[in-house]
Amino acid sequence: MKDLAETALNAAQVKGADYADVRISHHVQQNLNVKNGALASVSDDASEGLGVRVLVDGAWGFAGSARLNRAEIELVVDRAVRIARASARVLTTRVNLGSPVTSRGSYTTPFERDPFQVPLAEKVDLLLRADAAMGEANGVTVREGSMEFIRETKLFASTEGALTEQTLYESGAGIEAAATSPDDVQSRSYPNSFGRHQGAGGFEYVAALELDRHAARIGDEAVALLRAPQCPSGVKTLILDASQTALQVHESCGHPTELDRVFGMEAAYAGTSFMTPDKLNHLRYGSSLVTITADALTPTGLGTFGWDDEGVPAQKSFLIDKGLFVGYLTSRETASVLGEKSNGTMRADGWNRIPLIRMTNVNLQPGDSSLEQMISEVKDGIYMETNRSWSIDDKRLNFQFGTQLAYEIVDGKRGRMLKNATYAGITPEFWNSCDAVAGSSEWKVWGLANCGKGQPPQVAHVAHGAAPARFQRVKVGILK
C-alpha cells in the first residue's frame, strides 16, 4: 500500500500539484438483524480504494477509484489534477493550509474481543434472547434487534511527509419494540434510538450492553405508551436523559461550531451557523454549568482515532468553557483563516470522499447533580428519554425534539408516563437555562452513527459524552 501511495504522490507532484495527499482504505462491515423471533438478515460488506486530493494553483481537486493498480492510479491523479485546474477557473480565495503536517506512526483501536472472530451463533443468540424477552409483553407487534461491526484500515500519506496507518474498530447493537393500535404506533428502543448504540471497541462493548436484561422493560414500555396520556402543552422545567442530552449537544453545539459551516462551505446543503467569528470569546452560549469539549482521545468514542484525515494528531479542545463560546472544530484550511492550527477534526466516510470537518467526541462535561436529585427539586416538570424525532433550522438556532418516553414530574416525584413528548427552543436561551447536570457516575459516551453532511453526502460516526441535564422554562408538548 505504501508503494501505491508513493506512486500517487509522485505522480501528483510531476503533474503540477503544490500539495497532495492520498488515502488508501479497506473497510469491512458485518450487519445482523433479528426480527420477530427470527434471523432476518446477515450481511458482510467490503470496500477498498484510493482517494487523491491535490492543490493546484491554490484550488482543490479530488478523485477516487476502487481499482488499486498503478495504471488506474495514474488516471486517478490525472483526474484530480485536471479537476483542480478547473476549480482554479472559479476561485475566489487561494487555499492556505498553514504550516506543514508531518505526522508519522500507527494506531489501533483498543479492544478485548475482535468482533470479526466472535462466532455468528453467539451474536445471533444474544439478539434472539433479547427478542424473546421483548415479546413477553402482550401487545408488542414488531420486535427488532441489530448489530454492526466495522474494521477500517487506512493509510494516509502526503507530499509534506506525513505517513500514518490506522486500524479502527467499531461495535454496536440495539433493540426496539413497537406496539400499535388502529390510530397509533409507539416504539421503545434500547440503549439508544435509530438502530444502535455504537462505540470504538470490540465485542465486549456489545456484551456490556446486556440487551437481554433490558428487553422485557422495553417491550412493556412500548405497550404502556399506547395507553399513556398525551404530553401536555406548556412551559415547564425539563429534564433530559443522557442520550437525549447527547443529541441536543450534537445538533445545537457540535454542528454550529464546525468552522466550514461558519464560512459558508455547507450553506447550500446543511446550512450555516449562528456562531460566527465575531461571537468567539463573547457569546454567552450557556450557563456556567455548560462546558463542552471536542475530545478525540475519549475512550470508546466513535470520534476517537490516532490522526484525522489530514494527518493532524487526535487532541482535546474546548468549544464552550463555563458557558462562554471559546472555540471551533477546525481543519487546516479553515483554521488558517483565523490564524490558528487545525484541532484535528477532518474525516471522510471512505476512500471515495474528501475529508470534511466532523465532530469527534463532543462532550458535555459532567456536573455535580444526579437524575434523582434533579427530579426531587422540580415542582412541575417533564422528564424525557430516548430520542424519537429531531429537527433544527439551518443556522442551528430553532430546534424541536421529540422523545419516545416521558414522565410528568409533580412535587419532586415521577408521575404518569406520557407519550408523544416534544420540546422546542432557541439554542442559547435553552443552554443558558441549564441549571443542573448530573455527575460522572451518570455520564456516558453515546455513539451516533448517522451524522449526515456534505455533497456528495457523507455519514460520519461521532460520539458525545453526556449526563442527564435540567433546563428551565422550556416549551413542551407542541402537539395538543
Binding site: A59, A63, I354, D393, Q400, P456
Partner: protein, 447 residues
C-alpha cells in the same frame, strides 16, 4: 479533452460474462448477483467560487445465495475473479452459520421494458464544463451583489441483476443535478434542477430564479405562528410526498400496522392523485427493482382515496400476490419503497395559486423534516430560503422562517388548487418525484 473524463463504465459484455461466471460457480440452490457501477463527479461552490471538486469511480458486487433454506448476503467493490470468489465464499459462509428460516423468494425471468435514461452529454461532462456552468451562476450572483452557493453533479451508472432462475436485467442511466442557494446580507433564495440530459439544465435560467428569490427575500420580518392558508412550491410538495412514501406507501408498513394507508377510504382531498411509475421517462426511470422484478405502475391515492401499496418479493409472498417491483437491495428489513413518485397536476397556473388567499404564507421549501407521529402522518420541519406573506391574493413581503408541525394527510385534505405545471425533484438519496405546486387551506406553524 474528453478521453480522461468520459465516464468509464465497464462494457456490458464484460459485466455479463462476470455475472455469468459467478452464477455458474455458485453451489447454492439459488444465487443472485447484482452489479452496480457508477462514475460520478460533483463541483461544489461557495461564496461565488469553487471550494470542493470531486470525482469517483466505484462498483458494488452484491451476491445473495439460498442454500438449505438459509440465506447469505455479501458484497465487495471489486469486479475481479479473485473478488468474485471472495464474495461468493463469504455469502456461502454466512448462510452456513445460520439456522434454516423464511427465505425471500427470487423472481423468475420476467421481461422488463428497455428505457432510455442515458445521455452522452451527461456521461462525458468534463470538469471544465462543470466549472463553466457554475461560473455563470456565480458571476450573475456577484453582479447582483449576492453570493452563490451550491453543487452541480453529473453521474453515469449501470445496474446488472441476474439470478440462477434466469432473470437477467441491465439498465444504464445518467443523471445531472444542480442546487443553489444565493445569499444577500439579510436573506437567501433557493433553486434546484434535475435531468437525465445535462444539456436540459440552463445555468442562466436557474440563476434568474434563485437570484430573484434571494432579492425578494431580504430583511424578512416575523409573523405570528398559527394556522395559515399556504402555497407550497414543488420543492416542499416533493419532500412531503417522499415522507408519505417513507411512512406508509410500502406493504411492510401496512402489514406491521404502521401505515396511515386505509385502503378504500378517503384519506386526502379529492383532487389528490398520487402514483408510482418507474417506467415514466418524465421521472428518473428504472425498468426493474433491486430484486430483478420489472416495475409496475401502482396507483397509491386516487381522487383522495387510498388505492394501493407497493410490494417486494417478501411482502408479496405474505400477501399472496406478486411483487410490484419495488424491492430494495438484499438484505432488506425495511420493506418495499415507492421511489418513482408522481402527483397529478391541476389546472391553475402556479403564479395564480395565491390569488384567492386573503392572508397566507408562500413556502419555497422545507428543511430538516422529521416524522413526529407516523400513523397520523405528522411531520415537523422548518421553512427555508423563501417564505413570504400573502395578502389579498398577492405575495407582499418576506417573513422569517417558521417551524411547522403538521399532518400531511390533513394538509392534503384541504387541497384548494394544484398548479397546471409539474417539476421533477430528485430525492436527496434515491429516486425522484414529479409534482405540482399546491394551495392548501390549513397548515400549522408552531414557532
Amino acid at each position: 479533452m474528453r478521453s480522461v473524463e468520459a465516464a468509464r463504465l465497464t462494457a456490458l459484455e464484460e459485466v455479463e460474462a462476470f455475472t455469468n461466471r459467478l452464477l455458474a460457480r455458485s453451489p447454492a440452490e439459488q444465487t443472485e448477483v447484482m452489479v452496480t457501477e457508477w462514475d460520478s463527479a460533483l463541483t461544489r461552490f461557495a461564496n461565488n467560487g469553487i471550494h470542493q471538486n470531486v470525482a469517483e469511480r466505484n462498483v458494488s458486487v452484491r451476491v445473495r445465495i439460498v442454500k438449505d433454506a438459509r440465506t447469505g448476503v455479501a458484497s465487495l467493490n471489486q469486479m475481479s475473479e479473485e473478488g468474485a470468489k471472495d464474495v461468493l465464499d463469504r455469502a456461502l459462509s454466512i448462510a452456513a452459520l445460520q439456522p434454516p428460516g423464511d427465505v425471500v423468494p427470487m423472481p423468475e425471468a420476467l421481461p422488463a421494458p428497455e428505457i432510455d435514461a442515458w445521455s452522452e452529454a451527461t456521461a462525458t461532462a468534463s470538469p471544465e464544463e462543470r466549472a463553466d456552468f457554475v461560473a455563470k451562476i456565480c458571476s450573475q450572483s456577484a453582479a447582483s451583489g449576492l453570493k452563490a452557493f451550491g453543487a452541480y453533479s453529473t453521474t453515469a451508472a449501470q445496474v446488472i441483476i441476474a439470478n440462477s432462475l434466469g432473470a437477467n436485467h441491465h439498465h444504464r442511466s445518467t443523471h445531472a443535478t444542480l442546487n443553489s442557494v444565493v445569499m444577500g446580507e439579510a436573506g437567501a433564495g433557493y433553486a434546484d434542477r434535475s435531468a437525465i440530459d445535462v444539456s436540459e439544465l440552463d445555468p442562466a435560467e436557474v440563476a434568474a430564479e434563485v437570484i430573484d428569490k434571494a432579492d425578494r427575500n431580504q430583511n424578512a420580518r416575523p409573523v405570528e405562528p398559527g394556522v395559515y392558508e399556504v402555497v407550497l412550491e414543488e420543492y416542499a410538495v416533493a419532500e412531503m410526498l417522499e415522507f408519505l412514501s417513507f411512512m406508509g406507501f410500502g406493504a411492510l408498513a401496512a402489514q406491521e400496522e404502521r401505515s396511515f394507508m386505509r385502503l378504500g377510504e378517503r384519506i386526502t382531498g379529492e383532487p389528490i392523485a398520487i402514483w408510482d411509475d418507474g417506467l415514466d421517462r418524465t421521472g428518473l426511470p428504472a425498468p426493474f427493482d433491486f430484486e430483478g422484478v420489472p416495475k409496475q405502475r401502482v396507483d397509491l391515492i386516487r381522487n383522495g382515496v387510498a388505492t394501493g401499496l407497493v410490494y417486494d418479493q417478501l411482502t408479496g409472498k405474505r400477501a399472496g400476490r406478486p411483487s410490484t417491483g419495488h424491492g430494495l437491495p438484499a438484505p432488506n428489513t425495511d420493506g418495499p419503497f415507492a421511489v418513482n413518485l408522481f402527483m397529478a397536476p391541476g389546472t391553475v397556473p402556479k403564479a395564480e395559486l395565491a390569488s384567492g388567499i386573503k392572508r397566507g404564507i408562500w413556502i419555497t421549501r422545507f428543511w430538516y423534516v422529521r416524522v413526529v407521529q407516523p400513523k397520523a402522518s405528522v411531520i415537523t420541519g422548518m421553512t427555508r430560503e423563501g417564505t413570504f406573506l400573502i395578502e389579498n391574493g398577492a405575495v407582499t413581503r418576506p417573513v422569517k422562517d417558521l417551524r411547522f408541525t403538521q399532518s400531511i394527510l390533513k394538509a392534503l385534505d384541504g387541497t384548494q388548487a394544484l398548479s397546471s405545471s409539474t417539476k421533477l425533484q430528485a430525492s436527496e438519496y434515491f429516486g425522484a418525484a414529479r409534482v405540482p405546486a399546491l394551495h392548501l387551506k390549513e397548515f400549522t406553524f408552531t414557532s
